[in-house]
Symmetry: C2
Subunit: 330 residues, 2 copies
Amino acid sequence: MKVSELGEFGLIKLLSKIASYDYKNRQLLVDLGDDAAAWPGSNSISLGTTDTMVEGIHFTDKATRLELGWKSLAINLSDIAAMGGIPKYALISLALPEDTDVEDVTQLYQGMVEMAKSFHVIIAGGNISTAPLLVITITIFGEALKEGLLTRSAAKPGDSIAVTGYLGSSAAGLKMLTHNMHFDSKTTTYFKKAHLQPEPRIAEGNILVREGVRAAIDISDGFIADLDHICEASAVGAEVRVNDIPVHHMVKSHFPDQALGFALSGGEDYELVFTTAKQNIQNIRKMTDCPITVVGEIISDKLAKVTLIDEKGRSIPWDRKKGWEHFKEQ
Amino acid sequence: MKVSELGEFGLIKLLSKIASYDYKNRQLLVDLGDDAAAWPGSNSISLGTTDTMVEGIHFTDKATRLELGWKSLAINLSDIAAMGGIPKYALISLALPEDTDVEDVTQLYQGMVEMAKSFHVIIAGGNISTAPLLVITITIFGEALKEGLLTRSAAKPGDSIAVTGYLGSSAAGLKMLTHNMHFDSKTTTYFKKAHLQPEPRIAEGNILVREGVRAAIDISDGFIADLDHICEASAVGAEVRVNDIPVHHMVKSHFPDQALGFALSGGEDYELVFTTAKQNIQNIRKMTDCPITVVGEIISDKLAKVTLIDEKGRSIPWDRKKGWEHFKEQ
């Protein structure tokens, strides 16, 4: 069987099984497959996460090397944010062609350093090797707050489902960049930043943990796909009111037909989706300037899936494999 | 300027400078560029190291996927060994083509698990993504012993230079595999294992630290290249008696003309080269079954380089760029 037939998530499950040979006895604090690994340190819980970006797959020449450096680090920090932790140290592994311009590599590093500085992360080391194409692998080592962790497996029926910020802006930015669309400078800046320089929600993740939230994930694959991960890990269902999904007005006005599709399955927003008792939401809103929007509820559901509903509470058909674009055509 | 003109070590220096924006204030315990990063944990020093293996560059189809998994983890553990630490957790990042056989990936993981088990390392998480070719990046988190660390910068004039095990066996194995050479089964097994399944010297690294050794590196680039790193980081020179370099009898007998070249610059032996006061050597030998061979002395040398000497103490010319093969032809 080919990897493409099994799928990414199927492969992760299979490899987790092989890799977890005796981890039940060895104090891993979250299952393999959560946003980050967690293990007990002497005074706090240690977090570790790693992510790879491959030229031509995860990035193209639409991004400057500075933006690429920023984003490479940001998406890893986002995994720490999704655990409610504090990032501390980064290890950078670069594989690159020998004819790469040194200036490109230093720009890449400058982008990482900018991002690292703003989150007080130390680039502690790394590795450089040769490859036919640029591959960036970043590992972050962090710490959990003493109050606890955000995991994918802690959602409970009755919880409200909420998201930070706006969804779909990154996909809109990608569309603009790949289709060479031209907007006014303010719009262009917003879309570019949304796609190329996402802000990891570290502060918000910390607030969530302190306010008693325990279930969250960051939106990298897309809102529905990532909420599905919570449903599966928590063995619950999710009912999402599509009309409540927060979409930025620039996305709505420039991509009126695609906005909701971008928001539901565009991915790479690096916002947090979390679940918590309804009464916690107001307290969380008081602690942050970041928009917090309730978009649905966790329900009991043996299928452990996300259901979309319209303003009248009717279920909206959704093809998990073919995604939103397919759904739209129905 | 291209990366190839600056060279790997030049690039590392340049990037370290960019990345170390304020690390002097942030408690990194070793310089960027040591075998692993080290930072203070609450009760012990934390170690982190990462390494990438790229298909066609670092491995070919001469290795089974099981052997490749083993080696990928082993070379990372070796970096922890070179710090005298204990490896604890591994994060595995795989980038692979979609048409990869699932069996190949599970075999790769089995190899990692075998290696992980024998050193009590937990595979705590990782990441899977698509790429046009297989790229394996492994990150290890470990802990230093309370007695201290092995670093590249602690060698002192007057120290003896010693190595664990035998040098050149890995290069001999590579030669056998790439040139389809046939030997008896015992020899074949020895060479294959030396190249494809090196044993990280974790136990030996721990013994060195406990016996007061503070300067070491693992041999990945080659004995001279790696000892050069110690010389540079410690601002000392090294005088090496080539006749004392430990070369396994199988390498000597099957590659009589190349054996010393393999040992001096072949690389990938993953043995430790360390420096310490002469009187420590006997105590270290008592603590381990691993051969410990003194091969030279650390000297004061403003050029901070390795000098090779023959049995009469005469300096042997050595071309750093063209390596041993060039030297041999003189």
